[in-house]
Symmetry: C2
Subunit: 346 residues, 2 copies
Amino acid sequence: MCVCVITLSCYILSLVLDSWVLVSAHRMKRPWAGQVERPPEEHIPRYDPNNPLCPGNKRANGEGNPDYDSTFVFENDFPALQPDAPDPGSEQDPLFQSKAARGVCKVMCFHPWSDVTLPLMKKEEVVKVIDKWAELVEELGTIYPWVQIFENKGAMMGCSNPHPHCQVWASNFLPNEPALSDRCQRAYYQKHGEPMLLQYAKREAEKKERVVVESSDWLAVVPYWATWPYQTLLLPRRHVLRMSDLTTEEREGLAAIMKRLLTKYDNLFEVSFPYSMGWHGAPTGPYLKEDNSHWQLHAHYYPPLLRSATVKKFMVGYEMLAQEQRDLTPEQVIHLCTCIYTEQRT
Amino acid sequence: MCVCVITLSCYILSLVLDSWVLVSAHRMKRPWAGQVERPPEEHIPRYDPNNPLCPGNKRANGEGNPDYDSTFVFENDFPALQPDAPDPGSEQDPLFQSKAARGVCKVMCFHPWSDVTLPLMKKEEVVKVIDKWAELVEELGTIYPWVQIFENKGAMMGCSNPHPHCQVWASNFLPNEPALSDRCQRAYYQKHGEPMLLQYAKREAEKKERVVVESSDWLAVVPYWATWPYQTLLLPRRHVLRMSDLTTEEREGLAAIMKRLLTKYDNLFEVSFPYSMGWHGAPTGPYLKEDNSHWQLHAHYYPPLLRSATVKKFMVGYEMLAQEQRDLTPEQVIHLCTCIYTEQRT
Ligand SMILES: O=P(O)(O)O[C@H]1O[C@H](CO)[C@@H](O)[C@H](O)[C@H]1O
Ligand SMILES: O=P(O)(O)O[C@H]1O[C@H](CO)[C@@H](O)[C@H](O)[C@H]1O
């Protein structure tokens, strides 16, 4: 048992966002009388005739899904990005700047069954998901500068369908977060001659203070600058620019480490852990012709829970208006995890 | 009645954050089968013997509140910032950067009664709140570079006590958001010779496309770059650097327009509207000696609701990993507001 008596407050630099995180090591002591979330639904039927994501069912636009038995990709019926968005008009005014956002939004089912999640799928099935991710990055990346793969898991994270799936949004522009990350990685590379996140991964692997899971090819850490309590950064140990550059062996290793990481998450509060996650790799489209050696492929996991399966961290007030703030240190989190984590989902 | 057939997608520049917002004008059409929030509690007792914020009651640290009859300020019992935080040690490694975060966290009750909110308080009572805000900015600003006043309203926004109150966190550093805003305002001023937000307010007042409420001294708009559906920006029409520079007349005008703005929010979905709000003004402490003419005092209101009193906008997935995205345009929001808004709370 560990009683933490640290009263440290500091602010920590996020390497990928060039911004600071306020860390208070003692805020978990405050009592919580605020909002409590509903725990996720426990009994999801394997097949639901009314679920538009299940094999063979009809979707909102009237189209029918095939009887798929692995992954299945289709166009989002309510896309935020479309290939033919008109120009919003050439406002020259510096106070009112806008540009046409063009792109595509796809949905990708991971599995024909609604009652599984990535950690509960077979390793070979997860490899199929990774292969499809790589294929989509390659395919959409021929045209678009950015292909964002992301998964919203759990109702708490705005997911409105329990069927295991993710989304892929490709855009004709580099969105804010990757643009910032690109700038940070480039600046570091210019100064130090090595990819920033590759050096960072090496240092974390040596320090072992924030490592959650590791294998010969992959590493998952609670990053030094984590804002969400149980945030993790997952990345290959080799210098890899994009998903599509991963070898067969690395894809198998990724499937294995993803299963381990997500099992740990599920075990932490004994609940199917909610999160948003997504992949960041070197930009594509016109950027394919440029030198992107400063980039290192990585995934961010942003889980909202703080205290239990039903009490989340609220990123509000100070966090929205001033700076993100966390209530315990990344090292305290790792400590908690080491106590609680087991390898098998209970 | 208005049926919107716009299918525009564009991305819009936020003047204060130097980042882009993806705007999709047609995403409100998608059906919502996701998480539904609990509506706020309706019957809050005026006085609750167990509520640590009520007059005369005991707080977590054993101290007793006075029998206050207006505003009441005290030190947060679980402060994220403390005046004497030790130095985290001089890590020279560029990959692991941290600094001591020093400061104070205060809580400020608006009123002795738990069953009122700012729009339900008398104008003179709201003026007292504004006077106290100004006093705290002045007092804490003698030492600290940044004094963040913010209100988390509603359980949905992480507020764990229904008693009307806000928080004031002062820090020995300029947090990310104000640092960015400072940079943006400074760059504009250097280029155009006028404060950015003052010019912006003038243009919005002329255009009248995004104005929610206005008076002779104040203006509230859904900013061109709003990310939250009903986000607003409230600012004086005169060039004002800080809260403490407001004249008596302007404080009365502010109380009046705050009451009008918040009444409109409450009427929109007929619910005590949840939000996080906060004030940004020219930095203080060491910055008091510098020229801050590029600054214009303003408040941001970030309300989470999207469709109704119980369906919020989820800033997840794409928003966390790529770029903030909104499902309808600011102008569509104003249109909705004009139909629904009335001046009296029902
Ligand atoms: O200090 P409080 O009101 O308990 O806490 C609330 O506001 C803080 C500052 O915005 C947030 O960090 C917390 O997540 C939120 O629950
Ligand atoms: O498209 P979906 O899954 O309905 O929507 C979900 O993910 C989107 C992208 O992160 C968000 O904009 C929505 O707020 C969220 O509910």
